[in-house]
């Protein structure tokens, strides 16, 4: 039989300071970046226009930028998108588009070119802030309901351990997006909630083992139980992460630009989530002062 992990017995609890140290540094960097740099919000949250145009002939970016500045629109980014005929244009919510809608405006300024609109997205300021608010709520509700479920199904301390690992994963994934100025849109938010579910899944598997071992391995100390449970579930954790990463990679290769941000967020989240379910979730249980259940 083929095995990723062969009869290993890593003393996770003996080295538990190391992951705490690594995670703390990562968290500080990520939080600092989130606070100082903030996010590169996509239009879902920041409002504005994204227009993807397909021209019949090749067109230069400078030419397009000039046409916008001739109409007194300076806050515009233009980039080629895939080919020299496809152009992606990002615009703020300009006053002028209220009077004459953007389609008519584009037809006017590109009146001597022939083009079709491949994609047009517009999010108004009010919708943008509503989406952001809804997203924040969804994240909080998810974390809170998970805490309650785990606390009922296991014990409160496990709930706290799970939440610690989840907050850790969310902050690091958000941090990477902030640090590298990756576009943060609705799909990334969806990915982060999926990561919450995924990482939790991993932590629960370990916790379930801890609970089981607490009953059958009565001679071991609590730290040994934690160690043994992590080791026992290690190969499952890695196999599942691997299969999930395989599909994320195929999304990154073939999924196209529409799911690119989503896939990047999932990719980071799954790696961080795997790390946290091995090193953070159970370690935090020991710091929260997990006890062996009373022998009865």
């Amino acid at each position: 039989m083929l095995r990723l992990i062969k009869d290993i017995d890593i003393k996770f609890m003996a080295i538990r300071r190391m992951p705490i140290f690594i995670s703390s540094i990562l968290l500080i960097i990520c939080l600092a970046s989130i606070v100082i740099k903030g996010f590169n919000f996509g239009i879902d949250f920041s409002s504005g226009y994204i227009v993807q145009l397909k021209f019949d002939k090749q067109i230069s970016i400078v030419n397009i930028e000039n046409k916008f500045s001739e109409s007194n629109i300076e806050d515009v980014t233009v980039q080629l998108y895939g080919s020299s005929k496809d152009v992606l244009i990002k615009l703020k919510d300009e006053e002028i588009f209220k009077k004459n809608n953007i389609n008519n405006f584009l037809n006017d300024i590109f009146s001597d070119e022939s083009f079709t609109i491949s994609k047009l997205e517009y999010v108004g300021a009010q919708v943008g802030s509503e989406l952001r608010e809804k997203g924040e709520w969804a994240m909080l509700i998810a974390l809170f309901s998970i805490l309650i479920y785990v606390a009922i199904r296991f014990e409160l301390i496990y709930g706290l351990g799970a939440i610690t690992a989840l907050i850790h994963d969310v902050i690091i994934t958000l941090g990477v997006f902030s640090l590298f100025e990756l576009t943060f849109d609705l799909s990334v938010l969806a990915a982060i909630l999926a990561v919450i579910g995924y990482s939790l899944n991993d932590s629960i598997v370990v916790f379930d083992r801890i609970r089981e071992n607490n009953i059958i391995l009565r001679k071991l100390s609590i730290l040994d139980v934690l160690d043994k449970s992590i080791n026992q579930t290690l190969s499952r954790t890695l196999v599942t992460s691997l299969t999930t990463l395989l599909v994320i990679i195929s999304l990154l290769i073939f999924g196209g630009d529409a799911v690119k941000n989503f896939s990047i967020a999932m990719f980071i989240g799954i790696i961080v989530g795997t790390y946290s379910s091995i090193f953070v979730a159970s370690t935090s249980l020991s710091y929260f002062g997990i006890q062996r259940p009373e022998d009865s």
């Binding site: 994609k119 799909s187 939790l200 073939f254 196209g256």
Partner: protein, 594 residues
């Protein structure tokens, strides 16, 4: 090894039959089509339909029922343009597939694709509630003014801040019967007599409830108007839906370009007919001086930019128009809109035109805060109900006729969100979704086989079953599949094997501990059960939190994720167990291929 209960085998079999049958419709190719019916909504005969299309020499694949279907969207659209110009029948863009009747009978349909996959336009419109408030306040002001005049109460000033209307009175004494009549007549409002020292004022205020009712009524009216406007765009299966108190969602699948839809849907455009005042010399003079040289006049501009003075009195306007059609002027062959006035409008028009033969009348195009004259013509003879308007191009004539027919929105609506995806990008998205799913499945299937051998093959069967169950469920409930939904399915492919991984790892442990193969299978499944359910329920909680955000991208993903989690639990716990039981149950096994 205890016998695996028969009912579980039957359950697995039933679920798989369901999954296969409801996935089937997705394998029939779908073609772009045009549905043709006459205006009584009856189908044409096959011969008529064929003749219709042959006459126009349009390339097509075939006809069936009310549909003519085509090889490509380009063919479909060029056919649509050629056909719809004659206006003999009702044409709608649609999709056609040759799904057998028995599948239709059990409501098995292909998955309904989201706008990002098939192309189309999504708008979120918001009603201008301030405008509703303003028009209600103005109405209140007029009514109150009339009441005061009728009752001989004089006032010196009116203050209207769109929320509260205040009449500053000259009269010092108002008798009690008038006050009672006042509160009776305006029972919908909070009306009171306010005394500031010697000064008496009548203050009327809109109650929040009646304002909410107004918004509701405006929404209902706008919804109906939007429906009739969308009907004119020739889109198949449009969605027009109220969202919340003051918003409307409009989805137009298959629409190539949002330009026309935008110009029509949110338009508050209407027409006004007014007599001109003064001579062209007065018009230029008024513009240069900055004040009107002719009394009772307003300065307007012609489309070409020249100034024209028009009478303050409106002869007729959009609300007096009952019907409108676009066409061509019989003499000049210019594009024109033929207008039908209501009897009230017609009598006013007759009265004005008969008194003003030889004078000129202007047609003013009014849209929110801009108005321009589209045509000025000399009144040659008196007319009343029917007349035509020229001075616009064909497209403008068509759009104007639609707007006049549907009536004007009772309050302006603005687009606060738009997502438009062109059909070619839509099909690119389908290809990306399909390719990433195929690659993902190949990778996972290979890995599972290499790592878990025969047991891996069983897990792979479960994986395929999962995809079928998800597709079938999406098809059955006609949940919309978006690109993010496909991402959700791809992700499920990766996570679906997890339940099997948990079980197999447990079986391996049992084997290492020296248990017999059959006992290992049983305890592997049993011990993994609580872990699988705990882990999946918590993931389900996160997925349901996702559903509460409820908007496009996120919702599509969350729906497939929820279905995926449930079906992967089923296939892993009950499905693979059934297959493993069939293979191993009645033998004493020496070892397991795991």
């Amino acid at each position: 090894m205890p016998r695996y209960p028969l009912w579980k085998y039957i359950l697995v079999l039933l679920v798989m039959i369901y999954a296969v049958i409801y996935t089937l419709p997705n394998f029939y190719e779908t073609y772009p089509s045009i549905n043709v019916t006459n205006y009584e909504n009856r189908d044409l005969s096959k011969v008529e339909l064929t003749k219709l299309i042959e006459d126009k020499s349009i390339s097509y694949l075939g006809v069936d029922g009310r549909s003519i279907f085509f090889k490509s969207i380009d063919d479909q659209l060029s056919a649509y343009n050629k056909l719809s110009s004659d206006q003999k029948f009702k044409y709608t863009l649609s999709n056609y597939n040759q799904i057998p009747k028995w599948l239709h009978a059990i409501n098995a349909q292909p998955v309904s694709l989201g706008l990002d996959l098939k192309g189309g336009v999504h708008f979120l419109l918001q009603i201008d509630t301030e405008n509703v408030r303003k028009s209600r306040a103005n109405q209140l002001e007029t009514n109150l003014r009339n009441f005061l005049i009728d009752n001989g109460i004089r006032y010196s000033n009116v203050i209207n801040d769109n929320n509260e209307v205040k009449f500053v009175l000259i009269n010092k004494n108002i008798n009690a019967t008038t006050l009672d009549a006042l509160s009776d007549t305006f029972s919908d409002y909070d009306v009171s007599l306010l005394e500031e020292g010697e000064q008496k004022n009548i203050v009327a205020r809109l109650s929040e409830e009646s304002f909410a009712d107004d918004v509701k009524a405006s929404m209902t009216k706008n919804l109906a108007i939007l429906r009739s406007r969308v009907d004119e765009l020739g889109v198949s299966q449009p969605i027009i839906q109220r969202q919340g108190k003051d918003r409307i969602i409009v989805q137009l699948p298959g629409l190539q370009d949002s330009t026309r839809a935008k110009n029509i849907l949110g338009s508050t455009a209407t027409l006004e007919f007014r007599l001109t005042k003064g001579s062209p010399d007065d018009w230029t003079a008024s513009e240069t001086i900055g004040t009107n040289t002719v009394s009772e006049s307003i300065l307007y501009r012609h489309k070409n930019g020249s100034p024209i003075l028009l009478s303050r009195n409106v002869i007729a306007s959009g609300k007096d128009i009952e019907g409108a059609n676009s066409g061509f002027d019989s003499q000049t062959n210019q594009p024109a809109v033929f207008v039908n006035l209501s009897s009230f409008g017609a009598s006013k028009m007759l009265e004005t035109t008969s008194r003003n033969i030889g004078n000129t009348m202007a047609v003013v195009f009014v849209e929110q805060d801009k108005s321009e004259i589209i045509n000025v013509a000399t009144i040659r003879e008196a007319f009343s109900k029917r007349f035509q308007i020229t001075g616009i191009d064909m497209q403008e004539a068509k759009d104007l006729a639609i707007l006049l027919r549907s009536g004007s929105l009772s309050a302006p609506m603005s687009i606060i969100e738009e997502r438009t995806v062109g059909p070619s990008l839509g099909s690119e998205n389908i290809i990306s979704g399909r390719d990433s799913m195929i690659l993902g499945m190949i990778l996972v299937i290979l890995f599972m086989f290499i790592y878990y051998k025969n047991f891996g093959l069983v897990a792979n069967l479960a994986l395929i079953a999962n995809i079928l169950i998800i597709t079938a469920t999406l098809s059955l409930f006609q949940a919309t599949l978006t690109l993010s939904g496909i991402a959700g399915i791809v992700l499920t492919v990766g996570m679906a094997v997890d339940a099997n991984v948990l079980i197999y790892e447990r079986i391996r442990e049992e084997l290492f501990n020296g248990n017999s193969p059959n006992a290992s299978i049983v305890s592997g499944y049993n011990k993994a059960f609580s872990t699988i359910s705990d882990a999946n329920i918590t993931t389900l909680i996160a997925a349901i939190a996702l559903l509460t955000i409820g908007t496009g991208v996120v919702k599509g993903f969350a729906v497939t994720l929820v279905i995926g989690i449930l079906s992967s639990m089923f296939t892993a716990i009950i499905g693979t167990r059934a297959i493993i039981s069939i293979i191993y149950e009645n033998k004493t096994n020496k070892g397991l291929s795991i």
